[in-house]
Structure formats: C-alpha cells, structure tokens
Point group: D2
Chain length 345, copies 4
C-alpha cells in the first residue's frame, strides 16, 4: 500500500486542525510538517488539545523549505497567502489550497470581489459538479471550495441540471457557524457576542462567496446565473444550513418531480445524502462527517423550489472536501479516511 | 392614576411568563388571576422562578369564572382554545389573544392553513401597520400577531408602502428560537437536539404564518402579495432574525432611496429602531425589549432589496406587542411599562 | 427630586455597557460622559447596539478632565488603572470602582495575588455583609466586589454567621460565563472555543478572587477562613452558579436548621431570594436582575453543608451591585432603578 | 478475522445512538437487531439522522426473541429494565448493560439509593480500575459505569492509589450535559430552559452516582470513602467536566508529586490522557472520542489536591466505555473501533 506524506500549512487554525484530525484517520497519508506563521516553535497540543497523537509535534514556520519534500501540501492560510507559497512548490507536489485564491476563473470577478490581482485558477475541488472528477484526477493543484458555496451548490445542482428553476434570480439565505471565520480575534467572534444571538453579515451582494456560487451554477449548466446571498451567524460551533429558493421554470413542476431529480443526481454520490421526503436536514447530523444532508420541495403557493442543505463547514465544507479531492487526485478510493456519519447529538 | 386589573390565562407557559414579567413593570396594570389548564393548584414560582414577586401566587384553572371580573384578560393559550373562552367574557372586558385564532380575516385562508372553522377576526395588534392604531384605540378585542409575521412585516413595510418592491414574490428566511414553540414536550425541542444545530421546519409554503404575512403586506398596500417563507430553528433561547428579499420594482432604485424610505416610515415609531446605514441587526440587542432592530439595502447585482429585522419573539413578538396594543386600546401612553433597551450580551 | 450626574469610564466594555443599561432606568441618575481608552471618538451605538437611547453618544477619552464635573464616576477599567484616575478626582465625587484595585484590605495579600503595589482599600460594596451598609452610607469611594466573591459570599454568609460550618476548609466550584472576562480578544474567549465546552481555569488556589472570598468570610465572623476555589467557564453569555460546601461544625445540624438560618439572614434583604426548600437556583432566572437566588441544605452522608447561589455576573455581580451601593452612598432608596426580576427563558 | 454480531436494545435513545455510531466503525462487530419499546416499527433514520448507513433499518420490539441469536447484546434501557431481559438471554451471549442495574455490589446501597430490589452485580466496566481488566476478560456480563462516576473516578484514581489524599471527605462538583438524561420529555430538558443557564440537581448526597463513586474509590484502595457530589446541568449537548478535591494526606505533598503519580498510573492507559502540567481539560477536546483528559495539582493554600477530568458523557462515559469493555471481554484489541481524537471546535 503506497503511503503519501502531507504537510499542513496553517496547522494551528480551525481548518488546519480539521485537516489534521481527518488525516490521522487516513490509512494512506502520513502527517509530515505542521506549520504556522506566528506560532512557529510552539507545540501543536497548545492549539489543538483534541489531537492527542500530535500533541508533541513542533509547529514549524510556514515557508517553502519546510513544506517541500512532501507528496501533498495542504494550505490553510489566510486569503492571499497561498499564491506565493505555491509558486515555490514543485509541480510534482500536490498542492491543495483551502483559501479562496485559486477558485475563481474570471479575473474580473476576482478583482471585483477581492480587490487584488488574480492568481489564476486551479481545478475546483467540488467533485459533485458535472465532469469535475475528471479534472481533479491526476491534478497537482486543487482549489478547495468555500464552505458556503459547497452547501448552496449541492442544494441547487440537481434543480439546475434538470432545468427545474430559473437561475437568474436564486435566493440563498444561510445560517453559519463562527468557526468559519477561523481563530480571528475580533469582538464579533467573542463567545458573549455570539451565544444567544443571530446576526447577518456582508449583506447586499457583497459577500465574496457570491461569484463562486454563480460560477458553480454555471458549471451545472445555468446561463449567467445570479444569486442573492445573505449569510447569518448563529450560535453553534460548526455547521451550515443553506436555504435556497428559486422560481420554478414551469409552474407544472411538482414536489415529486423535484425529489426524483434530486434522487437521480445524487444516487451515486458517496457524500451527499438525500433525506426521505418530508424530512429536513439538521446540521447536527453532519458534524465531523464529510457529508451533505439535503431535502428539496416545491412551494406551490409561490411557484418556487426550496432546497436546503446542511453540512459541517469545517468537514465537507473545508477539510473533508479537501481530502476527498486529494483521494481523487492521487487515484485513491474517493472515500478513503472519510466518514459519512456525524457526531450527534 | 387609573389602575387596571389583568388576568393572564396560560400563565405557566413562555408567553404567559413574559406577559407577567412585563406587567410587573407596568405602572397602571395590576396582575389579577393567573391561570392554567394542567397545573392549576401549583404555585407560579414552580414555573417561573425569575418572577420572584409572584412566586407564591396560586395558579387557578383557566375558565370564565376565574378570568371574569378583570379589566383585561390576556389569553396565552394553545391555538384553538381562545374562541370559546372569549365568548364567555363580556364585551366590557378587553381580551387580548396571543394565539392565532382571531388573526386572519379571510375564513378560507383560515380553513386552508388551520383546518378548522374560523372564529372571526379581531383588530390586529400590529400598531405600525397603516391606520392600525385607530382600529386598536378603544377596541375590546385584540388579536396579537404571530412572532414571525411581526418581524417580517416590520422588515418589509416601508418598502411596500413606498412601492419599492414587487410583492408577488417575496422571500422570507427566518432564524428563530425554540421558545416560540412554548413549553411543548417533544424531542425536537430538547436541549440536546437544539444546541449546536440549525434545522428548518414547515418548509414549502405550509407554515401557518404565511397567510398572516401576506395579509399584512396587503394592509401596507400590496396587491395580492405572495410570500415564500422558510423558518429555521437555531440554538438560542429567544430571538428572531428575519431576512426578507424581493425584486426591486425599478432597477434604478438605490440603497439611499431604500434607507430614506425606511427612515420616513419609522421616524415616529417608538419601538422600531432603524440602525445606522451599514450596520445590521443582532437579535441579542433586542432581548427582553419591545423593539425591532432593522436594516435594509439594495443588492444591485441581483436587483433585490434585502431587509432584515431582529426582534425578541417573546417580547415585541408576543407579550410586548400585546401590552403595546393594550396601552393603545385603553388610551394610555403607548410606551407605558415597555422598554426599548435589550439585555446584551 | 434631586438628580445626580454620572460618568462611566470604560463604557464600551461589558461592565460599562451594563452600567449604562441600568442607569438608563434609574430615575435619579443622569448619564453624563461615557469614556474609553482606545475607542474614543466612536459612537456608543457601535459598541452597544442594545442601548438605543445612547446610540449617538460620542465616546470620549478616559481622563480626569472628562470625568470630573459629575456627581458620580463609575470606573469599569482594567485592573490597575483605577488608582491613578481616582486620585485625580476630587473627594466630593463619588467614585465607584468595578475593578479589583481597592478591594483587598491586606497589602500583603494584594502583593501576593496581584504582584503590584497596593492602592489602599475602599469601603467594600457588598451591602449584605454585616455592618456594611453603615460603611457605605455617605462614602465617596466604593470598591465593587468581584462577581465570583459576590456569588460565593452570599451563598455562605448565613452559614458562617450562624456558626454552622468549619471555615478552615471551604470548597467553592463555580460555573461562570465568558462575559466576566470582558471583551478580551483571546482565543480562549472565541465563540467556537466556548460553545459546547466546559473548562476550568486558574486552578489550585491561584485565582485572585480567593483572598477576596476569604476576606468576606472573615467579615462574616470566620476566623482565618480558607477557600479552595475552582472556576469553570461554561457556554452561556451571562451568569454564575457557585456551588459551595464545607464541613458542618456539628454533625447534629440538619437541613431544617440550615434553611432557618438562611431565612433569618436574608429575610430583609431586597436582592437575595432564598428559594423554597428543595428548589435549586437556575442562573437564567437572574439574567439582567440585581438578584441572587439561593438554596442550601445538608448532605448528611458526608456531614457537609451545600449552599448554591446563582447571579448574573454583570448585574448583581458587577453593575447592579455598583448601583445598589451608589444608592446607599447617596442616601437614596437602595432598590432605586434596580429590578429583582430576571429575563427568562 | 472473527466477526461478532451485536444487538442494541434502546437503540432510539442517545446512548443507543452512540453505541450504533461507534459500532459502525468497529471492524469486528456487525450490527444486528436494533430495538426499542415505544417506537418499534419505525425506521432508525427517524431517530438518528446522523446514522445514514442505518437509516432504513426497522426498529424492532425490545424482547428476548429479537435480542437472542447475537453474540453481543447492548442494553441501553431505562434503569430497572435490564434485569428481566438479561435473565432471558443465555449465558453464551455477552450482555453489556449501560443502565445502573448491575453496578452496585452492596444490596443495601442499591436499596437505599434506588429504592427497589437489587438485581445482583456484574463485572464493572471501568478497565482502568486496579485488576479490573482481569475480571472483564472472558466475562459474559458487564455493567457499564455511570458517566459521572467514570469522570470522577478517573480524576481521583492515581491520588487514591498513591495514598496522596484523605478519602473520607472527597468533594466532586461536576458540570454535565443534558444528553446524559436521554431523550426524556420534561420541561427541565427543553432547549429554552437549558440554553443560557446553569443549574444544579439532586444536591445533598442524594444523587445515585454517589455510592458508585465510593465503590470505585474503595476499589482503588480507599477505606470507607465518602464523596460529597454536586452535579450541575450546563448548556452543552455533550460533555462532563468533573472537579474533584480532597485534603492531602500529608501537607508536604507537592504539585510535582501529584503529577508524577498521575503519570505513573496512566502511562500505559490507551484512553486516559494526562495533559502537560499547567494545562487544564476542555470537554470539547473529548467529543465523540473514547478518552478522558486529565490534570491535577495541589492548592498549597488549603492543602487540597484538585484533579479535573473531561469526558464525553455519551462516549467514554457510556457507549465508548461499553465497547472498550466488550473488546476486553471478547479478547480483542482493547482499542478496536475506538478513537482518542475528539471533534473540536
């Protein structure tokens, strides 16, 4: 059995910690260097007490010297930092970027939403997109999707592919956990601010995940899709619940048609779980698992489809998705080292 | 100073408890009988340890004998129970019904969503609706709005009144607290199910608050409005965050136009607080207060207005709104006994 | 009716916000300057969206110039900062210090636990201590107790006064909310760290509230008391639950004796609520209120008394207690502007 | 590789769900019948949406007919129900009882705390107790410990074995999650009651886990130990934090002696993780894992040892511990199918 070595850059953050947690269960990947910027020199146990087998590992600096020499490098760095590092890593190394830097294909969109120069785009790590596994197989560069685009794309993909909805006016309202912001030290993310409160942020079409969602809907076949996206921060450590609605393309489409389309799209997907009709997702059921729970129906009253997805933002939304794509890129079994079973309650 | 006496039926539940908490601060209302169905004979302190001044009060049975003889009767009963009780209470008693029974004007809508005979409609207790204060003044019967319709109506009212949006396709996605379901003993509402999880319920146009929202938008001037409503249960004891979007009626409408319309609508409203432009509501800021915090803007990318309201579902969403309307009905200062200041963090 | 003016220094933090929230309800105190160090120049609404009536207030710098000219100055500053400011404020100004600086009488204890020079001690703001109201009446300097000492002292006071326990080996284990740490930007206080987790801190007799608890038990009549104190951080925005146990001084003491002693001690206390026998406190019942909920009993099996208190750390534990003492110092009704009714659920 | 089949009785509850979650990862145990009392006939997916691979399994009635024919039967039933079922299961079946029924050796203690007839005692499933693995190896009956006794025994065991503390006056104050009560439908366990609140229960030596803790300390060598036990319910779905203190047996014992004793006791234990000196446990780090995180020190000020353990009440505290013992009883690798890595944040 071939063994691969992996370095994790940004190992002390939440995405880095989740990558390490999942890699500890991966039978064919061994954890090599764990690196960080500010906390180089500390022990990993100080940052992630749950990762007992790695407690004594020394955190090394994030630079090409420490990352090179591995088969795989996972980058869990702040947006904007991946490009420079990646350029210093050879083409023989599989580089999996959890940041946004290489997700968007259109430089103009990147410029508009991120306000900096485009670093180019890498194969996009959402294997459930049509034809995407082929692009990921053998690739040496992977751009891991944003957690919100993963949830909302999976919720809408079958409807778009089957032509069930108008994609020029999709509405996504999404409840998300503060771990999505990483260990950012800001009053907004303090426990006393979050517990017992819900609040939206980046409202009015300005959230950077908007063009990424639209790019994904286009990849499903939509022509110039438009998404109105409103995220809300709610008091849970992990999880995303994405409520997605759009006008039906034809008023005669019924709930049964919709459910059948979702069944068809996801029948073979190992990590997408369509719930029995009438049962709606709970984020709790996905915690720690590389899975999306889905349900969809029709609101005949307004002629809209309503599709809702629950994921763990750190698992299927980031680190789990990253490892799923890594498996594909390396030609391994896609499900290796990943679980579909959440930790609930 | 005139003093009124008030009985509270359903006093042991969450809405009943909040009514009592607020009434304890009301300078012109004295608490009379506190009644309940199953727990008659117990002490109120067993159900509401926070209501120390009422701890020794005996809970009496909910029937006309115990409720009559007060100036005001607040009904915080399960849906369907108010009608029969109210009929036994004289026309000289102000009856304020926190249940749904008398909210809907259209018997057909009632029949469709509630599946039972219509009990007729009472003056609707949302004073912020156009012309509504006049209908409430002197009234002896008041139907307190549902908590979700209160939040979403207040979020949309200025846009509808100013003709800024198309009202035939309004989307409301709303995060709400489990206290909205009362002390219902069901697995769904157990702490271990709710903490760390978000989940939608009654999806696809079937939630009973849908026709109530539409009735309210019509009261604001919308012609045959349609609302696609999706509620989500999130882990907080109190609070509603309502995200409301609709297509702009004219693509040239900008964020400044929207904000100006909201300012005009609510300039004189004592319990609606439009936040400074760019600041979005937190439910936390409204806890315990009879207040709605609001913000609205335009998503130029999709041509949609986005308006978001935060309220405390038990306060402005139920008991606070009830007392605000009681003040109006009795000819008292509308703000008497109510605060606009939440308990945060 | 005399009106007093009050400045609040450290107004942007949690203690400062709670002082302002309560002062807005105080009929004889008007809010003057609101000051802070780093955020001078900002609007108060940016920091405390729940304090709507003060939203437009400009935050001024914390210095003697801005604080002087008020009848009362509340200091809600980091420990160590109060002394220098207080010295610049005239003896005619009532200075109420929410920090630790002036709580400990013994300079050696101060030096041992705080590692800096002692600033002297001020009348200690726990009116429930024997003879303490006399010391506070007319005082121009008040040291507000720590939130943990308030909870544990109130739990133990009747037992100590009645000689029911040995005070040389008191054990206090206390669950507390992260708002007690203020808006401190540290990973420990991030929402994702706190939600779904309980963790102790400053274990092994090193917490600075230890000598303060012992000083209080001595003030109740204990001879050289010793407290083993272990605080735990739990996932709630506000609240302290203090579990206090000590060996009974005589094995024949029973639960009835204990309850009777607690009744006697607190019969006249407006802000201490002894629950009915057999009912134990919930922190929820005290949120926002200047109240402590108490219960005590005997564990005959081990010969220990168990006494448990719940308070809101920001209310009775800090800002409420500060205003209660201010009322006493000014000769006002002690309960003015304060409530005993919590916001629950 | 031998495969064993296991039935789970009480499969629809939290303990049953956690058993199934862990068994799904066990390489040598296959899940057979899943049974319940009231919900027989339903699908498992209705109760445990996170257990996707078992979603279609039909829940069968809990009776000997459905449980017989397996190699292993896990009983996750209400207290008092296990005895009758177990008697109908042959001696060749390994019966693992997660309820209290067979934990206590002393019939008088059982009678005193449970008020019913003693069902006899089975080998006690805490392998970390001295000599306990020998008793579990090959056994056909195992009594899984209570979650609170597991946490507090692991916290105190090294101190008792090394004679570091007086065991006649041990104090345990423990924060615990509501999932420990199972899916019990009572107001106490509603989300709105638990979120934002901490409350003690069964105070004063009456909690049924008290004699179990004392039995365990005796098994560690204590002579007639006495434990004063106070549990607190705090707002988290899973987790126990047990704070345990006792007088040092000799005032000269220092923190280094204590740490060294803990290191010695647990050096070879696969599921007990002593944290680096000065680092205290977080329950979060243990979620989903069969692990206890520990720290201990001396409070020189009071002459007490303070030892604190964090576990997941459903994992190491119930289902994980049950599987660990099952592995031992069957002669499998003790760690099979279990992880030491928690899901955090």
């Amino acid at each position: 059995m071939t063994k691969y070595t992996a370095a994790v850059a940004g190992a002390t953050g939440y995405a880095g910690g989740e990558l390490l947690r999942l890699l500890l269960n991966h039978p064919q990947i061994e954890i090599g260097a764990v690196t960080a910027a500010k906390s180089a020199g500390s022990r990993l146990g100080e940052h992630h007490p749950h990762l007992v087998p790695l407690a004594q590992r020394e955190v090394e600096p994030t630079d090409a010297d420490h990352l090179a020499g591995h088969d795989i490098v996972f980058l869990a760095l702040p947006h904007g930092a991946s490009g420079a590092i990646a350029e210093q890593l050879g083409d023989d190394i599989l580089v999996v970027d959890c940041a946004a830097d290489h997700r968007l294909v259109d430089p103009a969109k990147w410029q508009q939403y991120y306000g900096s120069d485009h670093h180019g785009s890498w194969p996009y790590g959402l294997p459930e997109l049509p034809g995407q596994r082929e692009k990921l197989a053998g690739s040496k560069r992977i751009a891991v999707p944003g957690c919100n685009p993963t949830a909302s794309t999976l919720a809408l993909l079958p409807a778009v592919r089957a032509g069930l909805i108008n994609t020029d006016d999709v509405v996504v309202a999404l409840a998300t956990a503060p771990s999505g912001a990483g260990k950012k030290l800001a009053v907004t993310y303090l426990a006393a601010e979050i517990m017992g409160s819900a609040t939206p942020y980046q409202v009015g079409g300005i959230h950077r995940h908007t063009p990424e969602m639209e790019q994904n809907l286009a990849a499903c076949g939509a022509d110039d899709p438009k998404v109105s996206f409103t995220p809300m921060l709610v008091p849970m450590a992990r999880g995303i619940l994405a409520t997605c609605t759009a006008k039906l393309s034809d008023p005669s489409i019924g709930a049964e048609d919709v459910y059948a389309a979702y069944q068809r799209s996801y029948a073979e997907e190992p990590f997408v779980h369509l719930l029995p009709q009438g049962v709606w997702p709970q984020t709790q059921a996905t915690i720690g698992a590389n899975t999306a729970h889905l349900q969809a129906t029709v609101d005949p009253h307004t002629g809209r489809l309503v599709a809702i997805a629950a994921i763990d933002n750190l698992a299927k939304g980031t680190a789990g998705g990253a490892i799923q794509c890594t498996n594909i890129a390396l030609g391994l079994e896609e499900t290796l080292g990943l679980t579909t079973i959440g930790v609930a309650p």
